[in-house]
Symmetry: C2
Subunit: 392 residues, 2 copies
């Protein structure tokens, strides 16, 4: 019996678990302090009225033999995939129902998608990056090539013709940096992927935060992306579903590799290792895409983007450099006074009782940077910014 | 770019997807026929009153900022793991909270658990078997050794000292055969696993259907199993959660391989590739373990076991041999008249408008056998049995 020894190459503990541990220890030792989290990126606004109404109605259906639902389709109920298609039609994009897979969140599908690719593929990952992209590939023992995201390229690395990669991770608007690719930049990536027979795994979890209408909110707004990209979508931030768990994965039928349809391979994966998202939750997700639900979701996004503005204004006043905060719910700042990112984490936690996310947790280029999230409630964000102004 | 070519070694379509396709085609061509499904093993009774009340209350919590829940613990809320601990205490077993992982169903965890094991492990799988065990290992390219389950061993294969295996799948009460291991038989498997440094993946999804109190309902009722077994538990059949999605996986802290804690490796896997079960669903699951919830679940199980008795009585009357139907919700019968199992499937579907599951879909030893499930509603089961009596 051997375990998967690739796991031993992982860093000791997943970033957010390590943060949670530090915070819990601090709280236990300082029960009187009010700790404000601008850290993990969890939302704070409750589910909207439309969603609650739909969840409640679906719950009652499950209590009645006439309307009870057992196993659903592995790829999700057609009613929900239809609602999601309509949402994409609003972006000017036409999807077929069987190009959409309902998921229990983008994180699961981003990780599990690797099942359908060979382990000898080379993976291209930006640094800094959402740790899940890295860790899931370390677990499979894949060769990882990093591309630097830094001040020099405004945290938006572009293809390097000298680098050969098979799987490319892009996240735009970006977590953690808040950077957003424009259409011309994404077109370079599509061109690179097509030339290299590569597949782009495009994480669009933050698309709802794009305010500038010239910026893309889906990679399929780029010509020929349907031949080289899989897109991961989430209701976590768009509609407050972090604890409710629903997302979507798009695999166009035009996307083939080694002569095989990736859509068909993924359906096989999901029908074998997944049994779908709860019916109740799928009804709640459907309500997000109703006219009322969309208006409510937009109001939540606007609330968080106002938080981002408050954070950005404070940092500007303090003379701290940052990116993000526009078209993205994350603000990515340079740690003041030459502190390392974990030192700044400790200073914020112990002196100001604010939780943020150390840039080093996102990769080597993250060192010296720090992520603040705009998902707090308004009063907490304002109080946290007051503490920053008083202490920095 | 290479795909995972192991996928090309899979049979064309997952068993239940193939059945669904046949049934949908038949229904489209015969819209006037009333098709009764005793096939996929989906439940028909609605969620119980306690569960609905808990789901409804939790939904309202999610609509209020004060009680809203975002990301939960990767391993599930403590309140639910505590409820599950108490349930196991009722079996005379002591579990610690951090030995329990809340899942979105046993199927997901049975499949994903393989991530933590090396791909060069040899896997021992009974035949016939739940196809997920086989397909998930084919996807990873593992060497599979089959053990025959047949009339000769009452569909309960026992260890063969000449066979070396690293990972062993056991399911008791068994899907598809309805066979149930006794404690002495399971003790032989624990002994074999310990001698071979192997790990048993024990699927106890049907434990609630065991009526005979001398039979084990958890592998941990066998001495030293905590050193060699992972147990997968589900609310799908126990409490009608097939469309609600919640289960539990137990990895004892005493279980180490290659000097590593499998519990710790799994936590790492889940915190990287999973974001937990919806809060609302976890509250619903908690209610299953309340005194009222347990009484309701027991009543559902009794209802289904009465169905099993009706099916068993009919087969006895028709002189058709079968196993299962006692201590298990499945009846596993010999196809009459020498028909193959897909021929019998077609005959049942087209002549009697009954859907069952062909034994061949569960492996070579399944050929000539057929699975009927007791999860239908009473009237449908009675009508299906009437059709059988008239046509066989």
């Amino acid at each position: 019996m051997n375990i998967n020894r690739n796991y031993l190459n992982l860093q000791d503990s997943y970033l957010f678990a390590r943060i949670a541990k530090s915070v819990n220890e601090f709280k236990a030792q300082n029960p009187d302090k009010k700790v404000i989290s601008l850290g993990i990126g969890d939302v704070t606004l409750p589910l909207s009225k439309s969603v609650i109404a739909a969840l409640s109605a679906a719950t009652l259906e499950m209590g009645n033999a006439e309307t009870f639902k057992g196993y659903g389709d592995y790829e999700g109920y057609a009613f929900l995939r239809k609602a999601f298609c309509d949402y994409y039609a609003g972006k000017g994009l036409t999807l077929e129902l069987d190009e959409i897979f309902v998921s229990d969140g983008a994180k699961s599908d981003v990780g599990n998608m690797l099942d359908i690719f060979s382990e000898d593929n080379t993976v291209l990952i930006p640094d800094p990056v959402y740790p899940v992209y890295v860790d899931t590939n370390i677990m499979a023992g894949r060769n990882i090539v990093y591309m630097d995201a830094n001040d020099g390229n405004s945290f938006k690395p572009l293809p390097d013709k000298n680098v050969k990669a098979d799987i490319i991770y892009l996240c735009s608007p970006n977590n953690p940096t808040g950077a957003v690719y424009n259409k011309a930049e994404l077109a370079l990536w599509v061109e690179y992927a097509l030339e290299n027979d590569a597949v782009i795994l495009f994480d669009s979890a933050y698309e709802a935060f794009v305010c500038d209408k010239s910026l893309p909110t889906s990679i399929y707004q780029i010509d020929r992306a349907e031949q080289c990209a899989i897109e991961f979508c989430s209701l976590s931030k768009t509609a407050g579903f972090t604890g409710t768990r629903c997302g979507f994965t798009i695999i166009p039928k035009a996307l083939t590799r080694s002569g095989e349809s990736l859509n068909r391979l993924w359906l096989r994966r999901q029908s074998t290792k997944f049994n779908g998202v709860p019916y109740i939750i799928q009804r709640g997700a459907e309500a997000v895409f109703s006219p009322e639900g969309l208006a409510e979701a937009r109001a939540s996004v606007a609330y968080y983007m106002d938080n981002a503005r408050v954070i950005a204004d404070t940092l500007t006043k303090l003379g701290i450099e940052f990116t993000g905060g526009h078209n993205a719910p994350y603000v990515w700042l340079k740690c003041p006074d030459g502190l390392s990112s974990w030192e700044f984490f400790d200073k914020l936690l112990t002196k100001m009782n604010i939780v943020g996310t150390p840039g080093a947790g996102f990769g080597k280029n993250g060192e010296g940077n720090f992520r603040l999230s705009a998902f707090g409630n308004r009063d907490n964000v304002a109080e946290a910014m007051k503490r920053l102004e008083e202490n920095l």
